[in-house]
Amino acid sequence: MMTDIVHSSSILTSSISRRSALKGLGAAAALGTTPGFVRYAQAQSSAPIKIGFQAHRTGIGAAYGRWYERTTAAAVKAINEAGGINGRPIEIVIEDDGTDAARGAEVVEKFANQHKVDLIYGTLFSHVVVGSSPAAGELKIPYYVVSEGYHVASGKMNRWVVQPGITDVRQQCRSVAPWIMNNVGKKVTMIYPDYAFGHDHRDFFAPAVEEQGGQVVAKIAIPPTETSFTRYFPQIPSDIDVIYHVMVGPAVLTFVKELGEFYGGSGPKLFGFIDSLEAVDINSPGLEFLEGSHFWEGSPRYLQANASEHEKAYRAAVGLDDNGASVNDPKDVSTAAHMFGCWETLYIIKQAMEAADYKGPEDRAKLIEATEAITDIPEGAEHPQGAKVFNGKLHQVFGTQNISVVENGRLNVVHRTSIEDGLYEPEADYTTQPL
């Protein structure tokens, strides 16, 4: 088994390493420095497109940041090998934001004024998006986030901020409600951390349940610093069908273990968001109680029997094994449910740049308009997670979600929601703002 691992890693390391991706870039960029007259003409057409990657390299987002970076490197490599964007290679400039809202804004400014990138991309954590957006708006630089938050669709950002590669939490909550009502039960207790992330789930899931004729019987908010949960469980009414849980943080394993011990094998069904256990091995001790329970997944962690060729190609490019861990390191479980958004966002950028015939920073406004003009996004190599629809007014993409069941220590997809399941009444129209 060891030899297998070593063998596969020696092949795949080079295909996914950012360094090797950038090596290719160095060669492409070097073309522009050939002496003579030709140089100028060539530099005009083949100078790299510079994308500023606002990465969580340090701070609380670092673990997610690693996989976002890896997916980004894989997508850039694939795009560059296929001829780049308008014949120009992509060059990624990484700046660490420390998962810090104030530094996020600084980094945006640095990208715009110092590195003079064409656009900024890749932010995950909500508070960094919210902290950075005003700077992007002032500097009039396109800001493509991969954050899953509802902040873009809420209308509180500005015209320069778009989220075209990952769905938002509001449509995720809405999408799963009909399936839960029809297949698990109509009486729900919600357990969520008592802050914005949990409140989003409370505010978006509960109305969706009621629309489906169900009822949220109890809402149990847990203080974010809590590390033991048993004393909250008696608050769960006895006559419910489902516990909807979205706990996150280092105490998640304890939460699941204590919940399992509380019910001792019987009790209501569980439905959770994989955000709780993103990058955590589902076979960790204490998680045995999850067997048979259901989870939302953006993109499936485990390779499914019916996976499309596109998805297989995407997983190979990023370097995921069948269990959703790194091919180089089977214990390094990926953030599969979210990181596909990096891949898909970069392809949206490519599509919009080509549509806008993007030449340089003077075309930034055209790039935003071209992004807003995108509507149907078919499933394919560029969008392996599935087909999507982009709402140009709302700057938010809508897509399908996966509902998976834990079976024998694997997550198997049992249902894919439709795009329509997640649609809601838009609250914003960014296109009314001037560019």
């Binding site: 890693s9 390391t13 080079s14 996914i16 390493s17 950012r18 360094r19 090596k23 160095g26 060669a27 990465a55 390299r57 340090t58 701070g59 609380i60 673990a63 690693r66 400039v93 990484i94 700046e95 660490d96 934001d97 420390g98 998962t99 810090d100 809202a101 104030a102 530094r103 996020g104 590195h115 909500s126 508070h127 960094v128 902290g131 951390p193 802050y195 914005a196 992330f197 974010p224 610093t225 590390t227 996150v248 943080g249 280092p250 105490a251 394993l253 304890t254 273990k257 990058a279 091995d281 960790s284 001790p285 204490g286 861990a325 790194s326 180089n328 390191d329 214990k331 390094d332 479980v333």
Partner: protein, 440 residues
């Protein structure tokens, strides 16, 4: 980590430290005392190597600073932050504690300070006023710790390059002005700290008077026992060093965030807690220093023949070194394992232009090494072993120091009661820090 039975370890650690003390209190100290003096001679190293080592290190440092300015902006791809924070601050410190004063042989200030002193016609003798004590080192170490733990972007390659350049220049000027040896012993905080830590190591070295250093093997901690008493400022320096590493652990715990009503699950970053962290850094130092000095003062009260508070504090403080080393190991183990791999990769391709000097540029960073239940168990046990072992060694060292200080086993035992209690408490604190839920 939270699923492990960490409370048993916390209790066990305290018991182990207390038991060590109890055994010492009733047992004989002469064996230990004699062990401390055992040396096994190895070989001699010519002092001329100092100059070569310093030059090489200086050239390397200069290259790193340049790369900090012009290389990748990614702190995990640029070798400067990885070298400073992981390889030197974590790795070299641990190596010093095990193998002895390596830093002396590669100190990048040595060559330029000698050259400048000669050019300016100044000797290298001690011109540092005695009243300065260790205060320059304290001030600089505090600034260093603040930059590492509180400043929002210590990993940013360009900002770090500026910080390193300024720090290097200031200390070079001071080394020329006050004399190289004196400044490295009491002024430049990294050298001061590394030299102190090296007293824990199993290698001892002595000047043979003929331009060579004779190396000898000794027991870990043996060199602490014979160390000269530190002045109050030196004592405070050592306590500051330990308190900052402890604070590094504390500032990430849910407990600490909770004190200030911050939600650790949506911690908005260091920028938002600069005031709180600065306060914590100072408060931790004040608390630890007060606790230590109080323990020594009480110890003095409990003996029949007090040695004098200053002298007692200045010698007993050396027993903090094993604890400092244990904290360093436990708290930075994870950083060392993961960022050490990034460092290997970055050093092989320092400018990200496709170079592969050591064949490690494309290596995949094995983050999974520290993931999963087995790894959590292993990491926790290594950390606990270090913390408990460090405190046990500290109790041993303190006891031998006390025996020499007070001249009798009985006085050593009674004087050490408060300090041993403090150390048992600090063991629990250290283990609690490592087992608490953290963010960032």
């Amino acid at each position: 980590m939270l699923l492990l039975p960490t409370n048993y370890y916390l209790a066990g650690g305290a018991v182990a430290v207390a038991l060590t003390f109890a055994v010492l209190a009733v047992g004989s100290l002469t064996v230990l005392d004699r062990f401390a003096d055992v040396r096994i001679r190895l070989f001699a190293v010519p002092d001329k190597l100092l100059l070569a080592g310093s030059f090489i290190c200086l050239a390397f440092l200069a290259a790193l600073v340049v790369i900090g300015f012009i290389g990748s902006r990614d702190p995990l791809s640029n070798p400067l932050p990885l070298m400073v924070w992981t390889v030197v601050w974590v790795g070299l410190t641990l190596l010093q504690g095990i193998a002895g004063d390596l830093w002396r042989w590669i100190n990048p200030w040595y060559a330029p300070a000698r050259l400048l002193s000669r050019l300016l016609g100044r000797g290298t003798g001690d011109r540092m006023p005695a009243w300065l004590g260790y205060w320059p080192a304290i001030v600089q170490f505090f600034a260093f710790a603040w930059f590492e733990l509180v400043y929002p972007a210590p990993d940013d390659p360009a900002r770090l390059a500026v910080a390193v350049s300024v720090y290097f220049t200031v200390n070079l000027v001071a080394a020329v002005a006050f004399g190289y040896e004196a400044w490295m012993q009491r002024g430049e905080c990294l050298s001061v700290f590394l030299r102190m830590i090296s007293r824990l190591a199993i290698l001892d070295s002595k000047d043979d008077g003929e331009g060579r250093r004779c190396l000898a093997l000794c027991l870990p901690g043996a060199k602490l026992v014979g160390a000269k008493p530190l002045p109050l400022s030196g004592t405070l320096f050592l306590l500051l060093a330990l308190s900052t590493v402890s604070f590094d652990g504390l500032m990430r715990t849910f407990f600490w965030f909770g004190l200030f009503g911050i939600n650790p699950l949506e911690f908005t970053g260091r920028s938002s807690v600069i005031g709180i962290s600065t306060f914590g850094l100072i408060a931790m130092f004040v608390l630890l220093a007060a606790a230590f000095l109080l323990a020594v003062w009480l110890g003095e009260r409990l003996t029949r023949a007090p040695a004098g508070f200053g002298r007692a504090a200045g010698t007993l403080v050396w027993s903090i070194i094993p604890i400092s080393m244990a904290y360093h190991f436990s708290h930075y183990l994870v950083v060392l394992v993961i960022n050490g791999q990034y460092a290997l990769s970055a050093l092989s391709d320092p400018l990200m232009n496709g170079l592969d000097l050591f064949g490690t540029a494309g290596m995949h960073v094995q983050a999974g090494l520290l993931m999963g239940a087995q790894s959590a168990w292993l990491v926790w046990n290594l950390q606990s072993a270090a913390i408990i072992g460090g405190h046990v060694l500290a109790v041993l060292v303190a006891h031998v120091i006390a025996a020499r200080l007070y001249g009798s086993a009985r006085d050593a035992a009674s004087s050490q009661l408060p300090l041993a209690a403090l150390m048992a408490g600090y063991t629990v604190f250290g283990l609690w820090l490592l087992s608490s839920p953290t963010a960032g």
